[in-house]
Amino acid sequence: MLEDRPWEAVGLTEEEYRRCRELLGREPNHLELGLVGLMWSEHCSYKTSKVHLAKLPNEGPGVLQGPGENAGVIDLGDGLALAFKIESHNHPSAIEPLQGAATGVGGILRDIITMGAHPIAILDSLRFGLLEAPRNRYLFAGVVAGIGWYGNCFGCPTVGGEVYCEPVYDGNPLVNAMCLGLVRTAGIIRGRAEGPGNPVLLAGAPTGRDGIHGASLLASREFDEKAEERRPSVQVGDPFLGKLLLEACLEARDTGLLVGVNDLGAAGLTSACSETASRAGTGIELELDEVPRREPGMTPYEVMLSESQERMLIIARQGGEEVIARIFRRWGLEAKIIGRVTADGMIRVREGGRMVAEVPAAALTREAPVYHRPERAAERPVLDLGALPDLAPSQAGAWLARLMGSANLASREWVYRQYDHLVGVNTALRPGSDAAVLRFKDRPGGVAAAVDGNGRHCWLAPRLGGALAVAEAARNLTVSGARPVALTNCLNFGNPERPEIMWEFREVIEGMAEACRALGTPVTGGNVSFYNETLGQNIYPTPVVGMVGLLDDIAHVTRQGFQSAGDRIILLGRTRDDLGGGEYLKLAHGLVAGPPPGLDLEAEVRVQALCLEAIRAGMVRSAHDCSDGGLAVALAEMAVAGGEGARGLDVDLAAAGGSRLDTLLFGETPSRIVLAVAPAAAEGLLALARRHGVAAVELGVVTDGRVVLRQGGRTLVDEATADLEAAWKGALPCLMAG
């Protein structure tokens, strides 16, 4: 029955087909080949990334669940734990931005729910081509509307994120969503099909023909004109059903009758069954006729591969199925037995009394091929700083305004205003500062979260870029008053069959691993998205780090905005002549050239430790890290975000470092933090900095109304804060209006 080159139709190589035949000990039938093709796709099998992901440190004192489950979990003490995970939905969002982004959010929410956790926050990391192009505006608007639609309706606040626009993301936007959830430590559920004889239930929405072959055809292949023809495979989200599913799952969890839970995402039933069985070392036998369907005439192939949304696979304790079904019915949902756990490690699929597929769960998962793909280091443009004319002092003010209003630095309010960032009544630090903070209702502390990743840095110097992403995420938590604890990551890369991309991939991971070790933040999970290539153009290597941190006391929440005039402004860390890879270099000179700013991990650790200690000691009124746009932009942002009567500053940057004006104002040297402290605390803070071995200089004072930057006797910038604010706030709405 099989055609000439049967492997091609399911995206396998001839070699992989041979391996499949060996594992089965016979020719696979059409359905079996489909299952294998899907599960061995890059998206499901991680066949290319596995060997490198193993280098990320994943253990630490607080880690209750590392990589390999639906989400990582860390211990919060006193019987409470935090589950969190990030995931990409890049290719679906390129085809249908609203539904693609919405179903991405739905998917990550379900990942958290499967752990037995109640989602408490979402963050989103987005990349688009330049917004001057209508297509990119359409994608951006659609993605934001889709994230908002799903998250708002579901009732989980979207509290933070990031957006960058670069030409390399033209036609290949990135949409990464992270979710955090709370779970009682004793109630953590895992995606394991334990206990032969236990019933396997399919709960939630009926199964339709949505997204068939999404995983293998969309996420595991580069983009070309034919992508348009794959359109009917878009999945459609239903956040209303998603919310009902949450409520039913939480209620079912509390019965203690759930043995294992897995969501149905990429590769649908096939993936959920083989993964839960493989994790537990068991098998699953499915009666496909029992699967509730939305459309008549679906083939076993379609039922097994469907990516219909808002579904969960539940392995229940024997005898508990009726109680669970009743709970789901109360919420207007079906939870139906579609199979049983078996002892022999086989995934068996029966339809109409006939066995239609019989494959070892391990063959679909653990025994999938693993590749060490070839790599080749690439040359990247290097900046000759000496040949670059410095910024003229008379232009400093104009360039500050220009940077504040650039697409990559401007206020993200246009985005987060469309997200309900308050539902749940936990949001203690709203979007607009360095990290988001959620308070705990039953204890004094809270949790902070931030997502960071600078693709331009990673393209110019992948290893350094990977480390910088981790350091910046940690710094964003620290300045907000939290101790960085652990992270999840989403690795968005081009086509791994190109040696240059593999080199980027390995380098980024090794850089991240180094930084994770230095900062003591293990990686508890993540996601890899390869094949972000459109018509031969690969995206920048874009790792997105989603980090979580803890606050012992919610009173430690620290904002970037100034609080009272007269507060002293102190810069921690040294400024070097770092212009490479920066926003100013690109805008002012049209250059994307490296290397990006170097990172001294020891200095980074010290400056963060100091900042946190100062915050905990109650010395700090405002804190903000220097990142994109450098020191001048960081200072201006603190003024713009300032409270009444504290929307300005007067500082002298002479002691800040940097031998050039452009690097002093706009250079992006990392490991720098700007603090504002009460006048009486300034001396103490400087002393504390000396004890920590951190360079610290007092720059000036908080004022109101104007941003004044001087150098020695000379005034470099003297701008009305309101004007800078107008440029900063107006930029995105204006760009999006076309």
Binding site: I95, R209, R231, Q235, V236, G237, D238, R294
Partner: protein, 86 residues
């Protein structure tokens, strides 16, 4: 010349319609138990100025393709009629 266009935008077959499904079950629970399916779509009425029927027709088709309908998930249909100057 002034024209009136009526545009129907409907979901493509096979595309899930959560709105239609929710509306159907609401109708059933209101006692309209005979309702089998509901599909929800959009209806737009446009007035436009164009030199000729052909021109108006070309423009409306273009609007549908470019903005009014999402080709990934939706189909469209329209009717055109001349209307009196108001």
């Amino acid at each position: 010349m002034r024209w009136r266009a009526r545009v129907w935008v409907t979901l493509r077959a096979g595309v899930l319609d959560p709105q239609g499904a929710a509306t159907r079950s609401a109708l059933v629970s209101l006692g309209f138990t005979g309702v089998q399916t509901v599909r929800a779509g959009k209806f737009l009425e446009l007035e436009l100025v164009a030199a000729s029927r052909e021109e108006a027709d070309r423009q409306v088709a273009d609007m549908c393709r470019r903005l009014l309908a999402n080709p990934v998930t939706e189909d469209f249909r329209y009717e055109l009629e001349g209307c009196q100057e108001g």
